[in-house]
Subunit: 419 residues, 2 copies
């Protein structure tokens, strides 16, 4: 079978499975998830052996130690994978929820009902745990999943997908509920992206190049999880102690994630006090400050000058771009032109300024007096997430179970016809 | 300025206008809409003159009479355009609605708030009234609009867009709220489709070739309004009088629209009675029946044999494909493989059969004992619609004001940071 035939066959099987999955009760799906978790646990040795072969090959190919770490499975990571599946089983199922219902003057009753999307394609890079994490969220919401992982993790991914499929089949779920593209041929991504008769949504999970490859050829909706260039604006009416806590938390609590702070903008009226208190606190935490002219003038050799690129960079490490602005408007304009519309924050005691910021900054999540680090499915109370969408339509911000569903209208009448 | 520079300049201006539009109150937007309506009325002579030049050119180019009719503006059509704008002004504004709001254990308050999408591209064919109809729905919801109409209507479209812009500017709305691509170069569509930094959503309004051209090159979400191959399934437990009314209404009340019936499937147990009552009623209305073997065996020369293509055809005229099925499952399978997932109906007195159909048929709107002709923004109570989406994400079925918005999360805290 050539590659195209192989990918289209996977598409057809996933579509067929999606029809059956959509009709399952929550109890049936949860039983399937628990069986998958058991199967992952029971297959630990198999998963570790497959993974060891991937790691060995990756090491021979000179993969960086950070990449090797992401690739490596351990007994603890396998256990955490199984535990993650059990947690998803315990979450409420959004499918079949009635979003709204109303009766028209002619007596027809219109119900807007939450239903699965159908077939979801997940294209990801080297972390093999994504195989399980993403697939079980799709299964929970009655969707079939087509997974396409990175070539470094191919043996691990095959072993994990096989375990999940065994669990699914044992619990009576369709055998094809979770399908992994078993080839590392890059052409497979392009074929998936063109297969809109079988795939309803693609979620690429990875770097810019991967997302771009999908967007360039996708015929179906793509929900992108681009980077987070998140900013905090310290207004002239800010409580500086609060500003310090929010900035330190945003920059240093976990610098390598998308909701970490990369930029701080300080109102000129409060800048001097900021330099006296918050800047030393940042430096004490080992943060490198890259400042604009006014910042450098104040901080001297404690800051280095920010380049134009610094304002558009997701550092993902202990580096912070800091600028002084003359007004709230200037802060909003900066965030709109340099930010990535992910998560941005204003620190102020002035409600009018806060409301203006919350309305004018066009980001998925906008904060008043709270850390941008809360942009997270768990922190929102969603229980689990497939990622943080930087797109505007269908899913914006934390993308959780509800965002893995869509809706249909069910109309019940008593013979009404249109006049 | 070359074409690319021209299109990108339009994009930049629309993006800037969208920022201002998003901050307007409902009252400001409505005042703008009423000024646009007044300006359309005041510009009637100008609109008719521009349109006359389009019509003359189209006639010289041998456009069909149906196309000429769609292209032609009359004083009544201009009045109806202005009246349509006033009606949209009177509708409730979904922007700023709070979709949901909750407080987390740490005290942060999360609000999911409806906001404009940003910049919406509308690509359409020969009917110049789409210029106004689509643009005002986008303005109502605080979006900037980039319009690209068919070359036949270019002078009419330019005149309408100019009138709308004059009205917008007079009422203090951004001058660039509604922008028309002033060239008929086909390359403009491709440039728009690639311009995802400036256009957040494209809605193509037209035939298959137009939609396909957009989908093939679009980098941003596209909401498609494909055809409607709608079916009614007459269950063995159907009330035949009700079935007759629903089938006659679906097929004959307005055959040229997307929610009209194209297919009827009859359960074998009720087929004979169907042939005695509903078939004659259809024939009396001038409907041509294209039947499967069992239908033709019963109806003789009153039906002609359906070809395979007939089951996949949106006839848009008084032709109906009719088949006999052995079961509800067979009906669902037929609809899933031949239908267009638009609107489908079951006629039955059996609630269990109805619920099964409503759940298993994966269409935007599914009906129990009511005509598929109700799939319409007005009939749903939405007041206006930009079309009927056959897509699954963001907008499914009637696409109205709410579907021209998205959401953002606004989070209000008192200094919370993540632990």
């Amino acid at each position: 079978m050539d590659l195209k035939a192989q990918i289209y066959d996977i598409g057809r099987r996933a579509r067929a499975a999606s029809k059956a999955l959509a009709q399952l009760s929550s109890a049936q799906k949860n039983a399937g998830l628990l069986a998958m978790a058991d199967e992952v646990t029971a297959s630990q040795q198999e998963l570790l052996s497959a993974n060891a072969r991937d790691v060995e090959r990756a090491r021979a190919n000179g993969l960086s130690s950070a990449m090797l770490d992401r690739l490596t499975l351990t007994p603890a990571r396998v256990a955490s994978m199984a535990e993650g599946i059990r947690q998803v089983a315990a979450l409420p199922d959004p499918v079949s929820q009635i979003i709204s219902r109303w009766t028209r003057p002619n007596g027809i009753v219109i119900s807007k009902v939450r239903v699965p999307i159908g077939v979801i394609g997940i294209i990801f890079e080297s972390r093999p745990n994504v195989t399980s994490d993403a697939a079980v969220l799709c299964t929970k919401t009655g969707n079939a999943t087509i997974l396409r992982g990175g070539s470094e993790a191919i043996e691990s991914n095959l072993a994990i997908a096989a375990a999940l499929s065994r669990g699914a089949a044992r619990a009576g779920l369709p055998q094809d509920a979770i399908l992994l593209v078993p080839t590392t041929d890059r052409e497979a991504v392009k074929l998936m992206a063109g297969m809109d008769q079988y795939i309803d949504l693609i979620v690429p999970r990875g770097g810019h190049a991967l997302i771009e490859a999908v967007v360039a050829s996708a015929r179906m909706p793509v929900i992108k999880h681009y980077n987070g260039i998140c900013a905090a604006y310290i207004d002239k009416d800010a409580d500086l102690k609060m500003a310090e806590e929010i900035v330190i938390n945003g920059k240093t609590q976990r610098p390598g994630v998308c909701n970490a702070l990369e930029t701080v903008l300080v109102h000129r009226d409060i800048a001097e006090r900021f330099f006296q208190t918050v800047a030393p606190a940042l430096l004490a935490k080992g943060v490198e400050i890259r400042g604009d002219e006014r910042v450098c003038a104040q901080l001297g050799d404690k800051a280095r000058p920010a380049t134009e690129a610094d304002w558009n960079t997701e550092f993902l490490e202990l580096i912070l771009a800091v600028g002084v602005v003359d007004s709230l408007e200037e802060a909003v304009a900066h965030i709109e032109s340099h930010g990535s519309h992910h998560s941005d924050c204003i620190v102020t005691a002035n409600e009018a300024a806060a409301e203006r910021f919350l309305n004018e900054v066009d980001s998925a999540t906008v904060y008043w007096n709270a850390s941008t680090r809360f942009t997270d499915g768990g922190e929102f109370g969603f229980g689990a997430e497939i990622g943080i969408s930087t797109d505007k339509l269908h899913a914006r911000g934390p993308m959780a179970l509800e965002e893995l569903t869509t809706y249909k209208y069910q109309i019940r009448g008593t013979g009404q016809v249109r006049g």
